[in-house]
Every structure is written in structure tokens, then in C-alpha cells.
Symmetry: C2
Subunit: 128 residues, 2 copies
């Protein structure tokens, strides 16, 4: 489980689109505003599209919009797409102890709290 620039970028993209919702916005404009290279942004936003957080429109005057209302999309959802699912069990993928492992208690508790925190924050909360 990690939180890196990938999640940061994903969140910025989503918040940017939340601001202009429900207007279509193209990657060139977003890249300029968010200071991300156009090419990298294209790749990242592609992941958000595959997970149906944004919708795309090809061709002239095309671009992206959020797939749902900013009130209905959480920061957690976006970050989880970019970073992978938040762990809720032992870090050791080969671990078979499951219940005996004392540290698994910690990771489960941690995962719950992270999920509660990040799913509680909606994109609409982040546009001031």
C-alpha cells in the first residue's frame, strides 16, 4: 500500500474536472493547468476512464468529463484506482497465518481507517 505522485496526479485531474463539471475539457488544457506533461496525463486519465470515473469524447472538441456528479465521487475511489486497493490484510502476500499474525490486526485497522477517511471526502468538498 502506498501513496505517491500517481495518486496525487489522479486526484488533481479529478478535482480539475470537478471544477469544470459538466463541461468537456481537453487534456491540453488540464495539463497546462495542473503542470503535468501532456503525454503522462493521457496515460493516467486513461486509467480513470477504464474504471469509469471519467468519460471521454474523441475527435474535434473532444475531451473528458467526470462520469458522475462530483458529489458522488470520493477521493478514495480516485486514489484507489491510481495506487491499487488499500490493503486490509497482512503485507506478506505469502502469509497463511491470517488470524494468528499479530500485525494483521494493525493492517486491518489501518485499512479501515484509510478507507473511511478517503471515501468520506468527495470531489465536491475539494473545489473551494
Amino acid at each position: 500500500m502506498k501513496f505517491s505522485m500517481k495518486g496525487e496526479y489522479g486526484l488533481r485531474l479529478a478535482v480539475n474536472l470537478a471544477r469544470s463539471y459538466p463541461t468537456i475539457k481537453n487534456t491540453k488544457d488540464i495539463a497546462a493547468e495542473e503542470n503535468i506533461s501532456l503525454k503522462y496525463l493521457e496515460r493516467l486519465i486513461g486509467e480513470l476512464r477504464k474504471k469509469e470515473i471519467v468519460k471521454s469524447f474523441k475527435g474535434k472538441d473532444g475531451g473528458y468529463i467526470l462520469a458522475r456528479n462530483p458529489k458522488k465521487i470520493s477521493a478514495g475511489e480516485v486514489i484507489e484506482v491510481m495506487e491499487g486497493t488499500f490493503t486490509s490484510k497482512c503485507m506478506d502476500t505469502h502469509c497463511v497465518q491470517v488470524k494468528k499474525c499479530p500485525s494483521s490486526f494493525v493492517w486491518i485497522k489501518l485499512g479501515e481507517q484509510i478507507r473511511k477517511t478517503l471515501y468520506g471526502i468527495k470531489l465536491s468538498d475539494l473545489i473551494k
Copy 2:
């Protein structure tokens, strides 16, 4: 910010020593019990020693014990030593916006929650 096997191992070592507290225990025994290679364990426990979470005794019949009572050492403290401090600001180390950045709100909130969760769990809670 990340949570990996390094933190898992650190926590296991600490919990293991919490169980035998306040008896000295050597790395060979811990390695066998926790299924970590002796050499790797030596390196990891060295980091815990430098941060004064464990104390070491050299020479024959030497080994390690917790530097404090298991009730006074939290999971967060141990994990933070292994993984680095939990982020409380924007992931972007070059970011100078500080307050304008909408995502920084998310990371600050997340950091607070993680800290609250992990510092609330003591080693004594993890030995059944």
C-alpha cells in the same frame, strides 16, 4: 508514504520482543520464530536500535530487549522508523502552493488519521 514488508517485519520483531519482555533474546531465535533471514533481521533491528526502540547487548548471551515497556511503545512508532514518517502534506516534494493545492487537504487529513490509528495501538495490545 508506504506500508510494505519492511514495516511488517519491524512490527513483528517488536511484538516478538514484547512477548519476551523484559528478557534478552538473540537474533537467531527471533529469526527462527519470525521466519526472517538472520542477516536481513540484523539490519532491520539495527534501525530499531538507532531509534532507541530496542536496546542491544553484545557478546556471549547477548541479544535485544525493548527499550521501554510494551505499553509505552506504539505500532506507529515502530512502523514510522521502518517506513519513514507519515506524510502530512502534498506528495509533490517540489510543490510550493501549500494552501492552494486541493489535494493537500486530503493528504493532511489522511496523515492525521493514520497517525491517530497507529499511535493508538500499543505493542501490549498485540500480544494475545
